[in-house]
């Protein structure tokens, strides 16, 4: 390989590395509040998703939703979304509550934490960047966890729903 060719490979390698960084970037600046790409930034980030997983237990979301399977509250790992599946819809639901028992968490958690929760909730149905998803759950399980492919397939309940979700993901910029 000639020298110029090798040199041109360098930036390419650097770019490849950079592309992989997004999933793990930890933004401690607290400056994300007004970013229009907030949904994508939270949903595609492994650190935000795992923070959301922690908050999910801490705020006792599991008390009603179980670990995604639902109970007193609706399941979160299937393809049905009563109030929209996009990042902003889920964060809005968390912050403002919904009729039928979903409490409003505005003032109980910060807005960033609500978005982290939303990122985690969407990741339960593998509705997020694949490389940002955790390979395993935080809580101990007594059944074998579903492989990623199975989790992703849970989306397609009806073709219409699937299309609607794809559409809303596109708006959020966090294509499945």
């Amino acid at each position: 390989m000639s020298l110029p060719c090798r040199v041109s490979l360098l930036p390419l390698a650097a770019l490849t590395l950079l592309a992989a960084c997004g999933r793990e970037t930890r933004d401690f600046s607290n400056k994300m509040m007004d970013s229009p790409h907030r949904g994508a930034k939270f949903a595609g980030n492994a650190w935000r998703i795992s923070n959301g997983a922690r908050l999910f237990v801490w705020m006792n979301c599991a008390g009603c939703h179980s670990h995604g399977g639902g109970g007193m509250g609706p399941p979160l790992m299937d393809a049905k979304w009563r109030y929209g599946s996009s990042m902003s819809h889920v964060a809005y639901t968390i912050l403002n509550g919904r009729p039928g028992g979903m409490p409003a968490f505005r003032g109980k958690i910060t807005e960033d934490q609500a978005w982290e929760l939303a990122a985690y909730v969407r990741s339960m149905s593998a509705r997020t960047r694949r490389d940002a998803l955790s390979g395993r759950a935080d809580e101990p399980a007594n059944v074998e966890p579903l492989p990623l492919e199975k989790r992703r397939r849970a989306r397609a309940v009806t073709p219409e729903q699937d299309a609607a979700q794809k559409e809303s993901s596109k708006i959020e910029g966090t294509g499945p």
């Binding site: 930890r26 607290n30 801490w58 003032g107 109980k108 910060t110 960033d112 101990p140």
Partner: protein, 333 residues
């Protein structure tokens, strides 16, 4: 000249490390006393052996010279067989004796945990320490965070667990390292004859802020410990007015109360450090900052700047509101 100065500073640093609140060289605990005795025994047995070996080596070298000059070979000398047998038997006896001493030391350390006077649970979180004191009377259970206070002279059993990742409790002056492993309970027994102030540190890499996960350990005279314990059980009064009351209202009404607990107030979160007697602690955020009003203000204003990655979020508060919360928390003696 400069090198001399550097060496001097290093030597002084070494000395302070030897005598400081976080040093494994000057063990003050029961466990280290046992191991210290064993070490002394090994030292005084092995030093004469070492010197003896050196003497025999020197003799052998002299004999070798004599042999070159035509003296008899060792096998032809009288008593060499007896010498070898004596050597083997003595070595075996000494090794056996040291093994017995080790076994007794090990048993003594293991026995010490039986029938503890005090049972404490230490839970390692990312990145702080939760401390629970168990008491047979339900109302006398005490929960605190980022401080471990124990009575001098008593056997204290510390149970260790972790809800997130592997941590390790290391109080170098008092005991060896012991890991905190999610899903299981390990323990360490402390028995410290004299009061003192020490510092523990997480000794197993546990994430971004592993280095800022310290635990001040205070060993107090039994009377002082009982006083601290009873003060800890008391519910702090709700402030009557002023900035403290404004801070109380903000703390119990805002995000703080979702995670932190202050006994006797609506703030009853159980996932972050218990702040019931926060004002009496020496450090903030597990040793990250000294507990002063200025550093508390800094911590609340932007926790991520002080301890990047901490689970404590930046709660939106105006500077006046922040000052009120600081005044309230510092009043919780």
């Amino acid at each position: 000249m400069r090198r001399g100065a550097v060496l001097l500073v290093m030597a002084l640093g070494g000395c302070s490390a030897l005598y400081g609140p976080q040093s494994s060289a000057m063990g003050q605990g029961m466990e280290s006393a046992h191991i210290g005795n064993l070490f002394d025994l090994f030292l005084w047995v092995t030093v004469p052996i070492y010197l003896g070996v050196m003497v025999f080596l020197a003799l052998a070298m002299r004999r070798r010279q004599a042999m070159v000059q035509g003296a008899a070979r060792p096998e032809q000398e009288a008593g060499w067989r007896l010498g070898l047998v004596l050597f083997a038997v003595t070595s075996a006896l000494i090794l056996f004796g040291l093994s017995v001493a080790t076994w007794f030391t090990d048993r003594a350390i293991a026995r010490a945990g039986a029938g503890p006077a005090l049972s404490v649970e230490v839970i390692g979180h990312q990145w702080w320490w939760e401390v629970r004191y168990h008491d047979p009377v339900a109302g006398r259970e005490l929960r605190t965070a980022n401080e471990l206070v124990i009575p001098a002279g008593a056997t204290v059993k510390v149970s260790l667990s972790s809800p997130d990742v592997i941590h390790s409790l290391w109080i170098p002056n008092l005991a060896g390292k012991q890991d905190l492993i999610p899903g299981r309970t390990s323990d360490v027994v402390l028995k410290v004859p004299k009061p003192g102030e020490f510092r523990a540190q997480c000794a197993e890499f546990c994430g971004l802020q592993h280095a800022q996960m310290a635990l001040p350990v205070s060993v107090r005279a039994p009377g002082g410990f009982a006083k601290w314990y009873n003060a800890g059980l008391a519910t702090p009064p709700v402030p009557g007015g002023g900035p403290e009351f404004a801070g109380y209202s903000l703390f119990t009404g805002r995000q703080c109360a979702s995670c932190h607990n202050i006994a006797g107030t609506p703030a009853s979160g159980q996932v972050a450090p218990d702040l019931t007697h926060f004002g009496s602690r020496t450090t903030i955020a597990s040793g990250a900052l000294p507990n002063t009003a200025a550093s508390l203000e800094r911590w609340i204003a932007d926790p991520q700047r002080v301890k990047p990655g901490t689970q404590m979020p930046q709660v939106p508060l105006s500077p006046e509101e922040r000052a009120a919360v600081v005044a309230y928390l510092e009043s919780l003696k």
